[in-house]
Every structure is written in C-alpha cells, then in structure tokens.
Symmetry: C2
Subunit: 297 residues, 2 copies
C-alpha cells in the first residue's frame, strides 16, 4: 500500500466486506415480523459513509489483526450507530425528516416501528459481537462490555441526553466539547481502540490511539457543525441549517466558521502526531482522519 489511490482502494474493499457482512447478519425482509426487519434494513443498509467500521478495519490493519476478527466488531458498531440515528431523528428528539438523503425511519415506517427497529438493532449489535467465534471468549466479553459502556448512559446515550438539555439555551465551549465527547466521541473512540485490543497489549499504544480517537471524534463533529452552516444538503443528505433551526449550540455559532475550521485542523495535526508514534501501517487511519475532518458531505 503506497499511494493514496491504494489506500482508498483498501478502504473500499473493507467497506464492501462490511456491507456484505451487514447484509448477511440482518434478518431478511421476509422473516417475520417483516415490517420490523424492513425498517432495520432500511436504516442499517442505507449506504452511509461507514466511517466508524472503516476506522475499525484501519486500526486492526495497523496492529496486524486479521479482518475475520474485525467483521463482527465493525458490524456491531454500525448497528449501534444506525440505531442511534433512528432514535435521534424521532419527533421527541431532534425531529429530523431527512437522513442519508431519504425520509427518516419514523417518516418511512411510523414512530412505533422506528423505536422498535432501533431497539432491535441495538440487540443485534450485541448478539453479533457476542457470538463471533473468530474472537476468543475473554477479549470478546471485554469488547461487548466496552461497546455497551460506549453507547450507554455515560457514553453515546448520555451525550444525546446532554445535547437535548442545551437545545434552546446558551452553552459554552467546554460544555459543547463534553457533549460531543460522549455523543459521537465515545463510539468513534471505541471503533479505533476495539480493534487494537485484539492486536496489542501495549498500554502506551492504547493511550495514543485513545487520544487519536478523541481528536478525530471532536474534529469530525466540528466539521459536522460547519457543514450544517456551509454545506450542500444534496451532498450531506441532511437538511441544512437544522442546528440553527432548533437553536442548537454549535462550534460555528460559538466561535465562528473560520475559528472552527482552525480548531478542526489543529485536532487533525494532533491526531496525525499520535499515529506517528505507532509502529504499524497507520496510513489508512491517517487517510480517514483527514477525510473526517475535511470532508464536504
């Protein structure tokens, strides 16, 4: 793997591999309850960017973990992510209408089905990971427990709770960072560190990867906030200015677009620094970090 094109080719192969795995693990539309499985597939196979699972394969690659051990982790992460989007979009939460360029799950299937599809995707995430015999039982238990931690009340779900609490009022930068550290950061960190768990027991390397995850997680979110202001809805697949419409505190609202862009670039620098101290091939991770923090969609 020597050029950017090679790296992109590798990432595409990982994405294809994951998509095949997701397709196999999700119950087919004709398995009862059919409408529930249809809603789960609608949301989980909607062709998202698959950034979190790509981070998992890329991190595993850096530590020479075979992809067979990574499929279940990557798939579980994507199911958790898909469930969180379904629930976050609900009328009682962010009340969004557009996701990945299509009607949100509750608009396509109704609210009750959307709630259940999210619930069932969370369960399927844990089932997939816990039953993956390619990972020895002891690390598998640890990976299940840490995924549950990452998406629970002191992780992703807690971050969404904090986020709802600041909607419509002023929040400072520290508060905003803490929200993102939980709401999107926890699962992104997990995406990166889970794979490394299977490849290295070196705690200094884990610390570097955790810091790398912190930087790309926050940088990713800052970029998300910027795209909400400056982005093209036909590219992002989400309604533009949705944050402002619901009076949601964002980085651009607090410090402006230019300062937000500088903050994101500085996080990218720090992320790449963390990688430079890791022995394995971290180029796919570096590519993903740049993409996450500089993307236009």
């Amino acid at each position: 793997m020597t050029t950017t094109t090679d790296i992109e080719g590798q990432l595409n192969r990982w994405r294809d591999r994951l998509n095949r795995f997701l397709e196999q693990v999700l119950p087919p539309n004709d398995t009862p309850p059919c409408r529930l499985h249809e809603a789960m597939r609608y949301s989980a196979l909607a062709g998202g960017k698959r950034i979190r699972p790509m981070l998992t394969y890329a991190s595993g690659h850096a530590f020479a973990v075979t992809p067979a051990g990574l499929d279940a982790i990557a798939c579980a992460i994507e199911f958790i992510h898909a469930y969180s989007l379904i629930h976050d979009d609900l009328p009682a939460m962010d009340d969004d209408e557009l996701r990945r360029g299509r009607p949100t799950c509750h608009l396509a299937f109704g609210e009750a089905t959307a709630i259940l599809a999210g619930d069932a995707l969370q369960a399927l995430a844990f089932k997939t990971l816990a039953s993956c015999t390619a990972i020895p039982p002891e690390p598998r238990c640890r990976l299940v427990a840490s995924l549950a931690e990452a998406c629970g009340s002191t992780g992703m779900a807690g971050g969404q709770m904090l986020d709802l609490g600041v909607t419509g009022r002023n929040a400072d930068l520290q508060e905003l960072k803490q929200i993102h550290r939980l709401k999107t950061g926890a699962l992104i960190r997990y995406s990166i560190t889970a794979a490394a768990e299977l490849g290295t027991r070196d705690s200094a390397e884990h610390d570097r990867l955790t810091r790398f995850g912190d930087c790309v997680g926050l940088g990713f979110q800052i970029r998300d906030d910027i795209l909400d202001v400056t982005g093209d809805a036909t590219l992002t697949g989400k309604a533009a200015h949705a944050d402002a419409a619901r009076n949601q505190p964002t980085f651009p609202a607090l410090i402006g677009v230019d300062e937000s862009t500088r903050a994101a670039e500085s996080l990218l620098d720090e992320a790449l620094d963390c990688l430079s101290a890791i022995d394995g091939d971290t180029r796919p991770l570096a590519w993903l970090a740049s993409y996450m923090i500089r993307r236009d969609r």
Copy 2:
C-alpha cells in the same frame, strides 16, 4: 426448604439480593447526565414483582448454581424488562399513563428522556452481564448472545411489533399465542434457561425447562389479560380495561374469562409436570409458576 413459608422466605431473600445488586449497578442520581440516571432508576427500581429474576435464581437453585453467578444474569434481565416497559408505554406505542402505580417514565421525565433511559438500560444490561467475572468467559458470551436474541427482532421487540400490528383488528388464538411467545415468552424462557446453562449440559433437562418456560410465559400472559378485565387497578398498578380501550385482542375477548382461566390452569399443570422430571429442588420454580398463573396483581 420444606414449607411454603420457607420457599417464600427464600424468594424474598433472592429479591432483596437482586434489589441490592440493581442499586449498586445503576449509576447514582448525581452522576451526569443526572436526569437520565434519575429516569433509569425511577423505572428500574420501581419495585416491580421481579418475577423474571426470581425465575433465574430459582432455576439456578434447582441446578445448584451459586447465586454469585446468577446476580448479573438476573440484573440484566430486569434491566431489559424495565427498558421494554418504558418503550412500550410511550405515546407512539401503547400510550400508557400508569405503571407499577406511578406515572409512566415519559409522563414523569418527558418522552425524549424516556426513550434514552430505555436505550441506556438495554446497554447497561449487556454491560453488566458481559463484565461478570463470576461466569467463565465462554458461557458468558453464550449468555450475552442468547439474551440479545431473546430481546431482539425475533424475540421481545418482534413480539411488540406483532402486537402493534393486531391492535384494532381481529386476531385468532394462534396469532395471539405467537405474539405472547415472543413479546413476554422469550425473556421469561431466557430467565429460566440461562441459569440452567451454568448448571447442566443435559439437553433433555434444557428441553424440559424450555417447555416449562413456554407454559408459564403463556399462562402468565393469559392471567395478565384476565386481570385487565377483572383486576383491581389499585392492586395491579396499571389502568384497568386498557386492552379493551385500545381494542387489543386478548384471551378473554377471544374465548371468554372462564375458558381463559381453564387454559391457564392447564398450562400450570403442564409446567409442573415438566419440573417433576428434573432431579434438583424445583419447589421455588413450582411456587413461581403457580404465582404467575394465579396471581391477582
């Protein structure tokens, strides 16, 4: 353990043990996000009957499994049950106002918090079970996977989906049984078979326990339907006639109260028959079966 009083005493000690464990595992109210943890505790510590965890301790007792190995299973089951009640009560689902004699979670905390409290309780269930070192890693992985199966799209969540699908229209007895087999039956079966997994590898005993679980699960639900018609809301802690109010198919509506009572009694007989072929002390399981199928609350 020789008399009914002794058995009730043992069940009370198991319930106390579980309640202490739940209390320890749930993050305290002053851990941020405080309001989310308050909602989780409000629902999970609401003093339910704890029937499912009691089944787990009683089943473990029959196969001489030490209680230390059962706490995490029992706790995970109760968290899954609590999350399912929160989500089932939501306006988009059954739209219930009263649960265990108090306002439902979304009335007490708002809909968004209730959705997140349910989501986070599901995650906490898997975290608790996956990190329980009293259970060896290999069976622990199996128990996590089978819990996820029991509460997912072909288990509990699938049953709720089917249930919503028949609201307001005619359903036949077979359809109703299939709904209950998933909606309440799957988690009740798991409560009974999970503990046995740690105590016996005899597949004939597992088959008997599974059948026992099928019988008490369905009998429990028939009794629930009967109580909705004949029960006292001050005892059940739920609004009476809620099923009829939302035009929900029930056993009494299909076959009448008397025939429903006979069906439940016949399931109890079959359940007790299954136990008689098991060597260990199954008296607490038998007590619970009678209680579940004959209770007045």
